[in-house]
Symmetry: none
Subunit: 410 residues, 2 copies
């Protein structure tokens, strides 16, 4: 016999919430999308080749490590990658593209709604896809298509909304009784084939399948005389879920600064205040300087690193990293006291795609240890005191360094 | 169909119990409380600055690593920190201060009892706390108060026990039918305010709340004319539950050697034999030499490292580490064949408090690998073959090095 009792099912995730206190230093989570790369026999990664005097100084004064966004070997999408960085286990939570798109354009999904991401595409006379992005048609053109379809399409037993996002991207939302999100994508992800028919993955989703078919059949007729943008591809059917709020979970006034709707979207779903800029990293730092005084925690998202990596452009990814490095002094001047610099996943230019490689992490300020290492790249990071860990453990360490977690247990 | 079947829900924790065998080398778990520190831009940690020729030698001959007591970013209390070292996940088990206190002074809690930790405190004429520790009144004075209150206080439907622990600290135990431990602390942890009223956190605990109120109301009158120690603050309400004992779990004859009641307490709760000394580390080593022949596994607790760290006294923590280092040869002479040297958490002198930083681990002897590193500190430990791991994984590795775990699976 003893007087130990099982604790009320705490996990690494929930214990952080229990310990969070609403005081501490101002923290920045700086995410360079797709930051990680890997060394080959020929040369180092993008981060090794980039000249980053400011990040190197922070590396010497701070702690280094590597994170696995989901778990070893797994290549994450952007949603999963960011959930991990925010301390939500990406194996326990998921956000579909539909919900991300909705949040990104400020469309409020209600419980029971089913959303999907739309690509306006171009079909040839045989109904085969010739361009999955309809020549990246202007957003206004997509808006006109949405307006036409919303006016003309009639559904039996549900409402629907169709909204443009950016260029060829849009959002479809179904609203009605008994809708289910378990439908396969209609986007085959390649050209030269026909779009897939909507297909329910469960018997409960058959009604929703029928509604989607009604929309697509009518859209096909209504758009038939258009040269580009004459059909819709749908992916990421999703419904709204209650995601635990980031500000409540960690007791911080949390702000997200990003240029791309998707990252604004995920932040909004998690309850961040959001500030969207046009695009340049410099603008994001301006926003940081202006808005940090009213916030405890800022997530800043840099897209360029990933775009360059996805394009297989090593040099442009190096430049994107150097551009962020040059802005580090202004971030510190803005009042950042503790910061983590990392990516949501790796996007090695050699692969021109997201990858499974672990992502460099730098933790600086507050009570972060000074590892005294010589710079910030994958090679130094594997020598750092943070070791290698799953991304979901980053946020607790950032909050701890900022003095925002109290003691656990007697 | 295949000839594989799911194993019956084994975990990292339970598989060790399954594999334990009652033979192997004699193992020592040497815990220097609050051992870990961290390097800053100015200087190394306490362990880096300390001169530790004996530990450095063992480091070269053994394996190094870093452990997180609970999980990354989390600062543990002493109970949680020790549970992890003993191989009990601190997120699954908790020990309240009341139970620790009871065990520490040898008070046997029965199932159904509710215990709380007592601080004798001093209130002013308005009932505000002026000193939470009543001037650290002598233990005999606290004993006299306990005696008075036990003699004079009358409860409706329960027994109670009030015992001195050390100086201003004591233990309250309620014994009766239908008691529940879910009460808030009455100790506000600050001076200048009134103690909190006892407050149930569940409807079931209302009866216990009433009993505690009866005790406190009568105590207030009975102690009213005292200048110091005129009231009681209560915290860590706790009760008793069954749980697996350390000796049964790991099939060892287990001994704990410690000076402080709390560490004797937790060991006793887990079924260790215990040996309490007055205070000096040297005395603990004397006890080790005497008692090791009759035991397989010894946990030895050194308090001075933590006390110095908590006082923010870097130099004194360095000295405490050096004092233990000088005793290492005698521990080996005593017959220790395998040992782990670590802390239950970090207490960096810079923070003068427990912290979230990972804790250095040295595993020496038996089949522990020789990492061949140059010494024992946080910097060498991050290069060691043990890597960085949660504390609950230390004990299996110590038992394995001692040849005390058999093979798992066919």
């Amino acid at each position: 016999m003893s007087s130990m009792s099982p604790a009320p099912t705490l996990t690494a995730e929930t214990v952080v919430t229990e310990m969070a206190r609403p005081e501490g230093k101002k923290a920045l989570l700086l995410v360079m999308d797709g930051l990680g790369g890997y060394r080959t026999a020929e040369r180092g990664s993008e981060l090794t080749e980039a000249s980053t005097p400011n990040l190197d100084r922070l590396a010497g004064e701070g702690s280094l490590g590597l994170h696995d966004p989901v778990t070893r070997g797994i290549t994450p999408g952007s949603g999963a990658g960011h959930l991990g960085l925010f301390g939500y286990d990406p194996l326990s939570y998921e956000i579909g593209r539909g919900a991300l798109s909705a949040a990104g354009i400020g469309f409020e999904l209600l419980p029971g709604d089913v959303a999907a991401r739309v690509n306006f595409c171009t079909l040839d006379a045989e109904g085969m896809i010739t361009d999955r992005r309809a020549g990246r048609l202007p957003t206004e053109e997509a808006a006109a298509i949405c307006e036409l379809l919303m006016r003309e399409i009639k559904l039996d037993e549900a409402e629907f909304f169709l909204q443009p996002e950016r260029e060829h991207r849009g959002l479809l939302v179904l609203r009605g009784k008994g809708l289910e999100k378990d439908l396969n994508d209609t986007d085959p992800q390649v050209t030269g084939v026909a779009p897939f028919e909507p297909q329910a993955r469960t018997p409960e989703a058959r009604g929703t399948e029928t509604l989607v078919k009604q929309i697509l059949d009518q859209a096909r007729s209504l758009l038939a005389d258009r040269e580009r943008g004459n059909f819709l591809l749908l992916r990421g059917f999703d419904s709204v879920k209650d995601m635990p709020s980031f500000p409540l979970r960690y007791r911080v006034k949390a702000l997200a600064i990003a240029a791309y709707p998707m990252y604004v979207g995920i932040s909004r779903l998690l309850g961040f205040e959001t500030h969207q800029v046009e695009g340049a990293a410099k603008e994001e730092v301006d926003a940081l300087a202006e808005l940090l005084p009213e916030h405890d925690f800022v997530f800043m998202h840099i897209k360029k690193t990933d775009s360059a990596g996805e394009d297989g452009d090593f040099e442009r990814k190096v430049e994107a990293i150097e551009e962020v490095d040059a802005l580090i002094p202004r971030m510190l001047e803005a009042g950042v006291e503790v910061m983590a610099v990392t990516g949501d996943h790796s996007t090695p230019a050699q692969m021109a795609a997201h990858s499974w490689h672990p992502v460099p992490v730098l933790l600086w300020g507050g009570t972060a240890a000074a590892d005294g290492l010589g710079g910030f790249d994958e090679v130094y990071c594997r020598q750092g005191s943070l070791g290698r860990f799953e991304a979901k453990h980053l946020l607790p360490q950032l909050l701890a360094a900022a003095g925002r977690l109290t003691k656990y247990g007697a």
